[in-house]
């Protein structure tokens, strides 16, 4: 084990964390403003990846595909909100879970219908191919660094949007008192649709970015969705800041755990079993971290003040 290898894994962890943040930010925003738990968020991630892969294959340009992923995911989000989700705001969480679970079945099977069962592949754009040298001698793919940069940029943009713009002000007002901003003349139904579409676009963007380093296939959103749940539970549901820190914590813990634990286990058990035990423990590590955090702070690290 070298420092360089550890640095590479750390960057991988941050890259995973940044992508998780894009998912978790949408989820936590939708929960904070509308009080809705959306299981179908992973499907919007998948929609983004498929839109990017299909349009990139058709036009030959990753960048047009990326724009298409934003448009497709936001449009899918808006349609779903108008048709289904807005009927669920007044329902209990059980109904929301079931209805969005039903949406997952429809999205997954519908996508399989349109694109078939075989995974699609998305090439990394020429501009971002290649690798850069890390201190210590190893090389790291430019594209993964670009993901980290893009994610950081989106996080900053989201922060500016929410803290500095009129729309952001309305979103914050919607989080603290939805009746009051309705009474002040803000069209709350449109605001909800916009927030949902914004969250969907973030998820679609994440799906498209990750689609270029993994295969684009049905069901790709579900593992990410569950990790994003862990993130927002750790961070405190409704808190964007919590989502960011939770995402980085989960991303780095998961990646470093898978890298380090099998090596640590060699110190305690025979090498033949160390890999298996280390791997098994590493796959559970983030859930163990979550359990510890919840045992200390049941409402997450940054619980919203008003809830």
């Amino acid at each position: 084990m070298t420092i360089a290898l550890a640095l590479e894994q750390l960057l991988n962890g941050i890259q995973l964390g940044v992508m998780l943040f894009l998912m978790a930010a949408g989820l936590t925003l939708i929960f904070g403003v509308m009080g809705l738990i959306n299981l179908a968020h992973g499907s919007l991630y998948m929609v983004g990846a498929f839109a990017c892969a299909a349009v990139a294959a058709w036009t030959g340009s990753f960048w047009i595909g990326l724009v298409a992923s934003l448009v497709a995911a936001a449009a899918a989000g808006a349609i779903v909100e108008l048709a289904v989700i807005r009927r669920l705001y007044d329902r209990d969480h059980l109904d929301q879970v079931l209805a969005t679970f039903a949406l997952i079945l429809m999205f997954s099977e519908g996508t399989r219908w349109l694109f078939g069962s075989f995974p699609l592949y998305l090439d990394i754009p020429p501009l971002l191919q290649g690798a850069v040298a890390l201190p210590g001698g190893t090389e790291y793919p430019v594209y993964r660094l670009a993901i980290i940069a893009a994610g950081a940029l989106v996080a900053f943009g989201l922060y500016m949007l929410i803290s500095r713009t009129r729309l952001g002000m309305r979103i914050r007002a919607g989080e603290s008192d939805r009746e009051m901003i309705g009474a002040l003349g803000v069209d709350i139904r449109t605001l909800y649709t916009v927030v949902f579409a914004l969250g969907a676009a973030l998820a679609g963007f994440a799906g498209a970015m990750v689609g270029a380093i993994q295969s684009v296939q049905v069901g790709m959103g579900e593992p990410v969705l569950i990790l994003a749940f862990v993130v927002i539970v750790i961070g405190g549901i409704g808190s964007i800041k919590g989502a960011l820190l939770g995402a980085l914590l989960v991303g780095v813990t998961d990646t470093m755990g898978r890298f380090l634990l099998p090596k640590l286990m060699v110190l305690f058990v025979p090498p033949a079993q160390a890999g298996a035990i280390g791997g098994a423990v590493a796959s559970m590590l983030i859930y163990i971290v979550m359990a510890i955090i919840l045992a200390v702070k049941p409402r997450g690290l940054f619980p919203p003040a008003h809830a």
């Binding site: 059980l94 879970v97 679970f101 997954s108 219908w113 579900e222 569950i226 298996a276 919840l294 409402r299």
Partner: protein, 325 residues
């Protein structure tokens, strides 16, 4: 028992579930016996969940963990019984169903105690996500632990034994599952009508009042959650024996979702809701699966419509509103 409309429907459901495989058996169609066995086992699993979800109001999105643990207990004990190697600390495996059932219930209950103790510190949407996350933890453990097949799962070569019964005969195994389902439903009814059941329902309806009269909601809920996990674990052991195969898919979050779907299709908190839901689900799966390979799409659509427009489920639709929610 008073013959209300709901009781009548319950009776019809129970008789129909017995009659269909008997007719299928007489007609030489063992496939339908397997379908009915599947209905009985899924109904038992959902009855367990109904105790937490319907009676206690605890929306657990992680009951697949207990279902899968039950399944793995059956698979692991049977494989050790076959190979003759001890499981742990010199204890040997077994192919006796009733020992497997007890171990499955004990282990599911123990894991339920651990998961419940942490998850029940939270409520609402946190509880949903945390139970989901813990079930995923068990799932990933099963996938990455190579000793019992990992991702590929574990086959049970010969169905486990029950004294005096040829379990490989489909009808016999159905009857075992059917009797256990009826016992499970009866147990559910007894628990719901007991002082404990009243406290559990009261904790759902008004936590503050329950605490005011001196009952700790946390303990009541934890007990209910553990009982619920044990019943679902037992169903998991039966399910593994039905398929003679257990794999991480029994632990997946789709399974947790399906169990909730069964309850909602049938009617939340209803005694026979899970059975009605399981029968409806398996019938959908079979009927839609025969028409189109895209049946999951239409299942999603039907589920969506039920949630949006028919909230009482099948039993609610047929028997009218529940007297108290």
């Amino acid at each position: 028992m008073i013959l209300t409309r709901e009781n009548l429907i319950n009776l019809i459901l129970a008789v129909a579930l017995l009659a269909i495989p008997l007719i299928a058996n007489a007609a030489g169609q063992p496939f339908y016996i397997t379908l009915a066995t599947r209905v009985a086992i899924l109904a038992l699993a959902a009855t367990g969940l109904n105790l937490a979800l319907g009676v206690g109001g605890l929306v657990s999105f992680g009951h697949a963990a207990f279902f899968g643990i039950g399944g793995y207990v059956a698979g692991i004990l049977a494989s050790h019984s076959f190979s003759g190697e001890p499981v742990l600390f010199g204890l040997s495996g077994t192919n006796q169903m009733w020992i497997i059932w007890l171990v499955a219930m004990a282990l599911a209950g123990f894991v339920g105690l651990a998961i419940g103790a942490i998850s029940l510190r939270t409520s609402g949407v946190y509880f949903i996500m945390i139970t989901l996350a813990f079930a995923q933890m068990v799932y990933y453990f099963a996938v990455s632990w190579p000793a019992y097949g990992g991702e590929d799962g574990l086959s049970i070569l010969v169905r486990n034994q029950f004294p005096g019964v040829m379990t490989m005969v489909p009808m016999n195994f159905f009857l075992i599952c059917y009797v256990i389902l009826l016992v499970g439903i009866a147990l559910f009814a007894v628990i719901r009508a007991s002082r404990f059941g009243a406290a559990l329902q009261a904790a759902r309806q008004n936590e503050v009042r329950v605490a005011t009269v001196g009952i700790q909601p946390y303990r009541i809920r934890l007990t209910g959650f553990v009982l619920s996990a044990m019943i679902t674990g037992l169903a998991g052991a039966l399910f593994a024996d039905l398929n003679r195969f257990v794999s991480p898919s029994m632990l997946s979050w789709h399974m947790s979702g399906e169990l909730i779907v069964l309850i909602i299709l049938g009617g939340t908190g209803r005694l026979f809701g899970p059975l009605a839901g399981a029968a409806l689900y398996v019938a959908f799966e079979y009927a839609l699966g025969g028409i189109t390979e895209r049946w999951q799409f239409f299942l999603g659509l039907i589920l969506l419509l039920v949630v949006l427009f028919a909230r009482g489920g099948l039993v609610g639709l047929l028997a009218g509103k529940a007297k108290h929610g």
